[in-house]
């Protein structure tokens, strides 16, 4: 392709066309209660790690749901697994287990 002196930037919009459902499906297989999340933000509001870092568990699992889990494995290390999120969740999602499973799924992906 000839060099026109400029490049086309990768789009910054979220795309559910390109996102992979595979990791999300693996996640809900491990933690079925995750399907019930209705994005109220109680988990993030009460999160201990969030008080000291930019860790946002609700946003993170939403990204996972959209198939955009790249780069989350560094973020997930910030979770201290205190489990307060699970206590306050009004939909009874096992969020603590969710974090552990997200870590496992992402680590397995990286090993391959």
């Amino acid at each position: 392709m000839p060099d026109f002196g400029f490049s086309i930037k990768k789009t910054r919009s979220e795309s559910i066309d390109n996102g992979s459902k595979q990791k999300y499906e693996e996640l809900v297989r491990r933690v079925p209660s995750f399907k019930r999340c209705f994005q109220c933000g109680c988990c993030t509001a009460t999160c201990s790690a969030r008080q000291f870092s930019d860790f946002n568990i609700r946003r993170m699992h939403t990204l996972f749901r959209r198939g955009d889990a790249d780069g989350l494995s560094e973020q997930l290390k910030k979770c201290m697994l205190c489990g307060k999120c699970t206590l306050v969740c009004p939909r009874g999602v096992n969020i603590r287990q969710l974090v552990i499973s997200m870590r496992t799924i992402l680590d397995n992906g990286e090993k391959k």
């Binding site: 994005q39 109220c40 109680c42 509001a45 009004p90």
Partner: protein
């Protein structure tokens, strides 16, 4: 002459009684309290037209004055027994009375907010329920815990509804619009107080509700933040610190407020549970189970036993009135069939 018993003197029960009485059917209304319409009496103004609740109380009370209606206050129905062609009601544990048809209109109770301990109700003075806010609006004075003018008031939706932890997965339906209504009423009393409604979804399902929401934003300067408050704690100066996530920004949020109003959901009342259990028509969450939600929503699977109003599910006042009216029609058809046979 066929006789009908109505259990519960609320909007649904009274409306049904009034329609039946006008058609010449003798009706006995059993009310466990010493006064009818106790839930309605707790309200200040009613959505969506801001009608003062005493006006409605007066009108309903007038309807009960009809010749064919006997009202028995202080009468608690503890048991219902099917006697082949009629129902026997056990009143106050001793008296047994027989009726051809029974309408259950035993209504709702509000969720006990102290069950959500993390929200601090019953622990901190600044945390109140929507019911207490109704009383404050009614009295025209809305003080903070120290008796001063509040600088900021937060309303939290879905307390005891849409909540697996309290066993109530259902939506209570009326709290969204009630919070908007209360915020508007509070604004009329406190022109300078910051008013914020914390919501997850605003379900403005009824006529005029969406317009109220719009007016609340446009005319009354009420703020809406999408996020559920997960914790409330006291600050050193007696205010309430709340924690939530502003889910639209994706940022956690801390705020101190003078009053945190918990919009408590509707649950099946104790009477609804007792009656439902007694005749085996207890549905989900203790509400009365009807035969079919589309076509047979006043009928139960027992003959001669009908249900109307918020004993079936959370319902607004106008829906309860309509439901009472529809139950009256169904009961008349049932009585006609009895007479033919």
């Amino acid at each position: 002459m066929k006789k009908v018993a109505i259990i519960g003197a609320g909007p649904a029960g009274i409306e049904a009684a009034s329609v039946l009485a006008r058609a010449g059917v003798p009706v006995t209304v059993f009310e466990k309290s010493s006064d009818s319409l106790s839930n309605l009496r707790d309200k200040s103004f009613l959505f969506p037209n801001f009608q003062p609740s005493p006006e409605l109380v007066d009108e309903f009370s007038g309807k009960l004055q009809a010749d064919n209606i006997t009202v028995r206050h202080g009468s608690c129905i503890t048991e219902l027994k099917w006697k082949g062609t009629s129902w026997e009601l056990v009143c106050n544990g001793s008296q047994n009375l027989v009726f051809d048809a029974v309408l259950i209109a035993t209504g709702y109770r509000t969720f006990d907010a102290s069950r959500k301990e993390e929200l601090g109700y019953g622990i901190y003075k600044g945390v109140i329920t929507s019911l207490e806010m109704e009383q404050m609006i009614k009295s025209g004075s809305i003080p903070n815990a120290n008796g001063d003018i509040p600088q900021r008031i937060a309303f939290l939706q879905c307390v005891g509804s849409r909540d697996e932890k309290s066993g109530n997965n259902y939506c209570s339906k009326v709290c969204c619009v009630t919070a908007v209504k209360q915020a508007i009423e509070v604004r009329k009393i406190l022109p300078k107080t910051e008013l914020t409604i914390f919501y997850m979804d605003l379900r403005m399902w009824g006529q005029g509700f969406e317009e109220m929401y719009r007016t609340a934003q446009e005319k009354y300067g009420i703020d809406f933040i999408r996020g559920r408050i997960s914790e409330a704690a006291s600050t050193f100066d007696g205010r309430i610190q709340i924690k939530t996530e502003d889910t639209l920004l994706g940022l956690p949020m801390k705020a101190s407020v003078d009053l945190l109003v918990l919009m408590v959901g509707m649950e099946a009342s104790d009477g609804t549970r007792t009656v439902g259990r007694s005749c085996d028509i207890c549905g989900e969450y203790g509400f009365i189970r009807t035969l079919n939600p589309h076509l047979y929503d006043n009928e139960t699977d027992r003959p001669g036993l009908f249900a109307a109003g918020s004993c079936k599910r959370p319902m607004s006042i106008n829906d309860s009135v309509n439901d009472g009216r529809s139950a009256a029609t169904v009961i008349r058809e049932y009585l006609d069939q009895l007479s033919e046979n």
